[in-house]
Symmetry: C2
């Protein structure tokens, strides 16, 4: 298929590369110039990239970026024709998604929100999970593209429901990791060897995919960004906004939000969100070497 891929960040670049690998005709665009994907055309603007595309796939950083890429000067919306499918793998506001989808629907364009889970490694290995909202027909048409970039697609409902579910997923990731980080901080301070605690965690019902994935990095004190703290914090803010508008109280997430904000202020925003641990350790007066 002819695909315009907009946004070549940590996630977007390997995703676009996997589309090329699967034989699709890909044109890429990125906000800051100089990024490219081997085998793909490079466009100067989103509008140029989208011209002639059957599918326009976005993977940018936030709600404002999606709006800009679509409806800003030289935005992709200027060159969308009827029948095009617009797919958004960014994690953005569900409410904004509904509004944006409404605007392009007038041009005969279908919107599929398809945020992903699986981190940088999932993007590279084409093992992403897509969390999709949109109509069945549109999802069916882009199935080959999903297959080129991921291992599974979950259809959560109409346009916007993918974003809602994504927020509910990241809320859980943040809570699971915070639980782990608080637990090992407390255990360390109480004199428990974390190398003895980890096998217990992994053998019990406390076991989770999040900790299984993060623990080895944490034990090596490797906080290089797989999922940068600032992006998780952005998602937490989106979740809290959506919850507030829907009159839902999320006391756990509210507490975690403050940890992330303080950790970001402490200089960890561009590290992996796992680095929130270092703030808890600092508060506890734990000195860690390495």
């Amino acid at each position: 298929m002819r695909v315009a891929f907009l946004g070549l960040g940590i996630m977007g670049r390997p995703m676009a590369a996997n589309l090329v690998k699967a034989g699709h005709e890909v044109t890429v665009w990125n906000r800051t110039a100089g990024k490219e994907v081997s085998g793909a055309q490079v466009a100067a603007t989103p509008a140029d990239a989208a011209a002639g595309a059957e599918v326009v796939w976005m993977c940018v950083s936030d709600t404002t970026a999606v709006e800009q890429v679509l409806f800003g000067e030289n935005g992709a919306a200027h060159s969308l024709s009827a029948g095009v499918i617009l797919v958004d793998s960014s994690t953005i506001s569900p409410a904004a998604t509904t509004q944006f989808a409404e605007r392009v629907r007038a041009q005969g364009v279908a919107w599929v929100d398809a945020p992903v889970t699986g981190s940088k490694i999932g993007a590279e290995n084409a093992t992403l999970i897509f969390i999709a909202g949109g109509d069945e027909a549109a999802l069916a048409r882009i199935q080959p593209l999903f297959q080129a970039m991921g291992k599974q697609v979950f259809h959560l409902g109409e346009t916007g429901k993918g974003q809602c579910a994504k927020l509910a997923m990241n809320l859980q990731i943040a809570m699971i990791y915070e639980g782990f980080a608080e637990a090992i901080t407390l255990a360390s301070k109480l004199g428990v060897d974390i190398n003895r605690l980890l096998p217990l965690i992994m053998a019990s019902m406390v076991k989770s995919g999040v900790v299984e994935y993060k623990a080895p990095f944490v034990m090596k004190r490797d906080f290089s960004p797989n999922f940068p703290l600032r992006l998780m914090l952005k998602d937490i803010h989106l979740t809290r906004d959506a919850a507030k508008a829907a009159r839902v109280r999320l006391p756990g997430l509210e507490a975690v939000e403050e940890v992330y904000e303080l950790a970001a202020e402490d200089g960890h925003a561009d590290l992996d969100y796992a680095a929130t641990l270092t703030l808890l350790e600092k508060w506890a007066g734990i000195e860690v070497k390495g």
Copy 2:
């Protein structure tokens, strides 16, 4: 072995039954009379139960209960002789554990703290995980008893470290479940079908043993107590006390503690801790049938 088993609650009773099943000579005692275990002798007091026992195993509700059972009137400590091993599978204060162990050490009695994870079902099926603190020699001697009641023993360090690790484990259980409960409350309110969200959770890194175990009960709205909310709240209080004394900040757990306190005040204390969900739903104005 000759074992005195003190405390026949949700966990203790099936544990004592599994000791009998494995061929041990078991004498049981319970605070409120009338409870028994087929094949075990029943003693009138902890002191009577402990007389002549090689191992005294406790599984009672809290720190005060352990103190009472041991050092109160007709407490087990009155009939302990040198060489006896005292095992505590209650979840109690690590600091109190150290003090109690110190008191019985004068009598030549070794203390092993061995709180468990695995819930009522693990106690019944002898698939508990023991989280042990104590010296190697004592642990080795009671290995056959561990095997009769559980599937694995993790040795976390000296006496008291089992309790520290147990608190770190339950902290994580509480945080994982709270994340799940907040996520499904938000998703429901935003119009996402939870029956579509669950398979996504289970296929992704959000997957956890806690949610895998609890979700089916939650979907059936079955909040009968496997792990009563009031006991999880007790453990949260112990954890917060230990954290405070050690100067460790646990912002996530602090928020969760308030949810549990309010849910308990709302009449859910004797239900499973999973019932904290109903408080979040009430706050969100979600009406659930069934």
